[in-house]
Symmetry: C2
DNA sequence: TTGAAAGCGCTAACAT
DNA sequence: ATGTTAGCGCTTTCAA
């Protein structure tokens, strides 16, 4: 009747020590991989721990060490957005991997945007309950972020500026990525190159627009604001913005998000035009669970999972470098804007559908 | 320079007591709404708390009281499933509401199925770190559930049997709901009524099949196993199962999940048949973010958000009744199987598309 | 009604 | 290399 059966009252370090014939300090050392323990004693203690199924009390641990081993992802968007956006599963996967690497426990705090208690609660739970949090963009985040930081919680922001707030930040190279994409469109040859993107409350939208402008300037093509059409992210916004843009008769369009590219495709088709022959299109996102377009969209792939992993690394490490970490994107070439000179015009011999 | 500015070192009860001119015990009483505090003292203490922005240390609280105020949703399915299934956003919303009502903090533990550490970690964190957990179905859940229960964590299972494991359980009336649905199909008149459902590793699949059988027996129609076609949940499985079922020439089909109904619609169309004229269809789920079908699917609406809310209530209360709570479903009548006698045949005068 | 004191289970000096 | 001791910040008897 011994072993790992169901004991309701939990064991304590002291009791483990008694059974192993050592003091509670020694057991604590074994538990925390402290070097100064004789191998024989260590294995004896480990045997007792295994036999009893003992687990240290996390609350006691957190109290004395101020570390809980918990990493939180605070999601301030509402449930619909959370489950609808293909961004989150990627981020969550990455964080999971990072937590596994660093032996941390991963937990998501889904805070309702309209939940007045959110900042109170989060600041409460994070006082010693969570070692670090990753916060994704959200309208109400500012106050919360500042509150957490002031309480000494390590905070990594994702998808939003770190400002001078002294926050850690991980994100992707939005500007560089979109500059490369637009360069690709320019090399493709069709002119002029228009921009369909989001209104400026989205940081990534601003950055991607900046990259677009840089590429034009580099190519000696002065940016023309009539070629920039902004709307809400998502297919509907993409449709509207593209419809407006088409009046300027662009030869190519850089669309700041893949969902918007869905709308762009629709608008282009509705205008009686074809991708890529009449208009070349390049998107941005390249998420595994993102939209699948036909013809396959050339897009800037952003490494969202890597962002998650990196964010955890930042939280786990104790480096205090406040420099944002921006991960590089990669252009994935599809049929919507083939590589210039190689397959820029569909090969008639290749035939239609397989 | 006073007030709620950013102090790195957190205040303690003792310090609050000093500033308010009382002992730490009194402050603790105020914090916990203990009645035996003079109103004047109470408000003085509260003033100091508000002024300083003091928050009790949750770890210390958890250590001494064995309660953390955290409710966890343990999700054992992998990320793809989590974000793909319209079930989860509903459940999450409901739990959020429940936690708000009971002043609990809601956190999701996304455990990777292949993560060997899962049971170790979860049992670790839940020792005092989490007051109660809600666990959704999953292949590896058994071991974990038992481990948690043995450590005295309150566990509510959702979407899986409580067995004799002494677990709390909240779910929907799968059996009763599907019995009603099949009754509705029988009343509709088309014969025979087939069943498209999931293979029996899904509890809800088993229960919905049982309800189907009950309805047939009640109606004096012996159940015929050739009319029962099982496959994986999801549209593809629904398509396969329905295709097989169509060989038996059913006049009506009860499909155990709405996603399978998507496949059923497709199979019926591929067979050159129409819904509802040739075959009436009733589904099960009715989730807000579930598939939208045309003609609109008559389906059994399961109150998933209410399940989440109820689960939290069970965790928050200290009732130890182990009886499962099964919430009633509701039939939502659409065009795929109209109410008998009222609009069972499409009105030709109603015209085609608008 | 309030304060003093004990102790939750653990870690980390400090001894030895 | 190991044991002893002193807290971490809180709740909760027990006295007053």
């Amino acid at each position: 009747m011994q072993g790992s059966g169901n004991q309701r009252r939990s064991l304590t370090l002291e009791e483990i020590g008694q059974r192993a014939g050592v003091s509670r300090s020694t057991v604590s050392r074994v538990l925390n991989d402290h070097p100064d323990v004789r191998a024989e004693v260590r294995s004896r203690v480990n045997a007792v721990i295994a036999e009893t199924g003992y687990r240290p009390n996390p609350a006691a641990r957190a109290l004395v060490s101020n570390r809980s081993g918990l990493i939180g992802l605070v999601i301030l968007t509402d449930v619909d957005e959370l489950f609808g956006d293909p961004y989150f599963p990627e981020l969550v996967s990455g964080i999971q991997e990072g937590c596994a690497e660093h032996d941390l426990i991963f937990t998501i705090f889904p805070i309702r945007g309209d939940d007045g208690r959110s900042d109170t609660l989060v600041s409460q739970i994070t006082r010693g309950m969570v070692d670090g949090v990753i916060i994704t963009a959200g309208p109400h985040s500012d106050e919360l972020i500042v509150a957490l930081r002031d309480r000494g919680v390590r905070v990594v922001v994702v998808g939003q500026p770190a400002d001078e707030r002294g926050l850690l930040r991980v994100d992707v190279e939005n500007r560089v990525g979109s500059r490369g994409a637009v360069r690709h469109l320019i090399d493709h040859g069709a002119q002029p190159v228009g921009f369909v993107g989001t209104t400026p409350e989205y940081l990534y939208g601003v950055e991607r627009l900046a990259g677009y402008r840089e590429a034009l300037v580099e190519a000696g093509l002065g940016p023309d604001d009539r070629l920039v059409c902004l709307d809400l992210p998502g297919a509907a916004g993409g449709y509207r913005a593209t419809t407006r843009l088409l009046e300027e008769q662009p030869g190519a369009i850089f669309v700041a998000t893949d969902p918007m590219a869905v709308g762009a495709y629709r608008a282009i088709a509705d205008a009686g035009l074809r991708v890529p022959d009449d208009i070349a299109v390049v998107g941005f996102d390249g998420l595994p669970r993102g939209p699948q377009l036909d013809p396959a969209l050339t897009t800037v792939v952003q490494p969202v999972a890597a962002v998650g992993r990196t964010a955890v690394g930042l939280l786990a490490g104790d480096q205090d470098g406040v420099e944002p970490i921006l991960l590089p994107t990669e252009l994935r070439v599809g049929a919507s804007c083939p590589r210039a000179g190689i397959d820029s015009h569909a090969d008639p011999a290749a035939g239609g559908r397989p």
